[in-house]
């Protein structure tokens, strides 16, 4: 097996085990989807099934995945730093970025499980079937979306390595994403000036595309338009995180402050 792949797998497995030992992660992964899904369902209770699937199920699924990523992937750097392991990981014979990517993949796998928990909870508790008009396209969107979330998580972890003040910002990332990406309501209800901000966030397009698949795609041009945005942004985030990890590599050697709290 390729050495990088082996590192990737063992790093993800270790990350999943470590994450499960933290109560905050257990909350984000298991309890949060239930409570958030319940809250959204109570709000959307008298709306039609399509809206419940679009805003309650997809909304709570995406916010659960986001919670897992923002609180864990981004926080991992800080945890390693506090445990004094950041320099060790950085100086390991394997590439730092590959180890971090493994961690993010581990979190994304658990985050995907969290998405499934939130959907299953609504289906089982309230008897709302999860039906899709275009399941095949949804599966494709889902895979691209997961890749996009992985890229975001890598970007966040890179930012956190470079700037310590990002740690404080991380705690305030939840609501801007929930608002700007239209997790629980369509972005059309937001003021016009916020739309460009929504558009540069890939979860916005992931949700729009997901909702199109729930409803049935009537306008394929619009579908392609958002799909291109989703793919383009994922590509852009990937380029950015690759760049950040190069900057980290240089800065860590220049300033020797990687492990400084």
């Amino acid at each position: 097996m390729n050495a990088d792949l082996r590192v990737l797998i063992s790093s993800s497995l270790l990350q999943m085990k470590q994450s499960f030992s933290r109560s905050m992660f257990k909350f984000c992964m298991v309890v949060y989807p239930l409570l958030y899904g319940f809250t959204l369902y109570m709000l959307y209770k008298d709306h039609d099934r399509e809206q419940i699937i679009s805003y309650v199920m997809l909304g709570s699924a995406v916010s659960s995945l986001w919670g897992t990523i923002s609180f864990s992937s981004a926080g991992d750097i800080n945890r390693e730093r506090f445990m004094g392991a950041l320099e060790i990981i950085f100086n390991a014979p394997s590439r730092f970025m590959i180890i971090m990517l493994g961690k993010v993949i581990g979190n994304t796998i658990l985050g995907t499980a969290s998405m499934i928990i939130s959907i299953v909870f609504i289906v089982v508790s309230f008897g709302v079937p999860f039906t899709l008009a275009d399941p095949f396209l949804f599966a494709i969107i889902f895979i691209i979306g997961i890749l996009s979330f992985t890229a975001i998580a890598m970007l966040l972890s890179g930012l956190l390595t470079i700037s310590r003040s990002t740690a404080v910002l991380m705690n305030c990332l939840d609501y801007p994403i929930l608002i700007l990406c239209g997790v629980a309501f369509p972005i059309s209800v937001l003021p016009q000036w916020t739309i460009p901000f929504s558009y540069i966030l890939s979860p916005t397009h992931f949700l729009i595309l997901g909702r199109m698949c729930v409803k049935g795609i009537s306008d394929y041009n619009l579908f392609s338009y958002h799909l291109l945005w989703l793919i383009g942004l994922t590509f852009l985030y990937t380029l950015l995180f690759l760049h950040f990890y190069k900057v980290i590599d240089i800065k860590a050697r220049q300033h020797a402050t990687l492990g400084v709290i």
């Binding site: 109560s23 809250t39 404080v168 705690n171 609501y175 309501f185 369509p186």
Partner: protein, 259 residues
């Protein structure tokens, strides 16, 4: 009483001593601001109405639960972690005043957050309250904050016996969001949960504050506020007696500082 105020102040200062101004502003001003924006937009969309005053009031008061849960709810665990819990227990001063004092300053700190929430409503969602009702509105908010801090005291005792403090705090926050009727009408909850809502603090305070945005019956309003105060006090005493119970247990088992 002088000691009570001093203790409250010192305890509050110690809890937030690690925070700098930047972190305080982000956590206490920016995050609540975003939370209220999120729930206001959501309520406006879901209920398809321009009059979202009830939801702005409910969610603003609900912001105080951040103080109640993450501030007051963690206070005893923090004391234990810092090694000062045994000093509180052994203190010759009134244990009740020391216990109650741990939540006192949070009422005023939470008031800042609630005001931020209401200001967001005023600036972005045309929320207003008649000048003539302003005093009663402030009383309703203060009583709600008092009872919110009281449930924080109960949670802080639970934190001494339950190891998974983060889980406890986060679940408590969401349960208050769900069960107090601040974010959606209690009538939407399953029947068995509606019963729980009536025994929770904040529920009646939110209901009373909401009444002040339209025509209201003063007798009903005062009754709700009295009940809210009574429930808050009940939680405060329940917290105190739990604390004493744990103190007795720890004296017997010598496990006060163990976690």
């Amino acid at each position: 009483m002088k000691r009570f105020f001093f203790q409250s102040y010192i305890s509050f200062k110690a809890l937030f001593g690690w925070l700098n101004l930047e972190a305080y502003l982000l956590i206490k001003i920016i995050n609540p601001l975003l939370q209220i924006l999120f729930f206001s937009i959501l309520s406006k969309y879901v209920f398809q109405t321009d009059n979202i005053a009830p939801w702005i009031i409910g969610n603003s008061i609900l912001l105080s639960t951040k103080n109640a849960i993450y501030g007051v709810g963690k206070v005893l665990v923090d004391e234990r972690n810092m090694g000062t819990l045994k000093l509180i227990v052994a203190s010759p001063g009134s244990n009740f005043l020391i216990f109650a004092g741990r939540g006192f300053m949070h009422i005023f700190d939470a008031l800042i957050t609630v005001t931020v929430g209401l200001l967001v409503g005023f600036l972005f969602f045309d929320f207003s309250i008649a000048m003539s009702n302003l005093f009663l509105f402030a009383v309703a908010i203060l009583i709600s904050l008092y009872s919110a801090m009281a449930i924080g005291q109960v949670i802080s005792c639970l934190g001494l016996v339950y190891r998974d403090i983060h889980m406890l705090l986060n679940v408590s926050e969401y349960l208050l969001i769900i069960l107090t009727g601040a974010s959606f009408p209690i009538s939407r909850l399953p029947l068995f949960l509606q019963g729980f809502s009536r025994f929770l603090p904040v529920t009646r305070g939110v209901e009373a504050a909401r009444m002040l945005t339209s025509q209201y019956d003063l007798i009903v309003l005062l009754k709700l506020l009295t009940q809210e105060f009574f429930i808050g006090s009940l939680y405060l005493f329940a917290g105190y007696f739990s604390f004493k119970l744990l103190e007795n247990l720890s004296r017997r088992k010598a496990s006060l500082d163990m976690y």
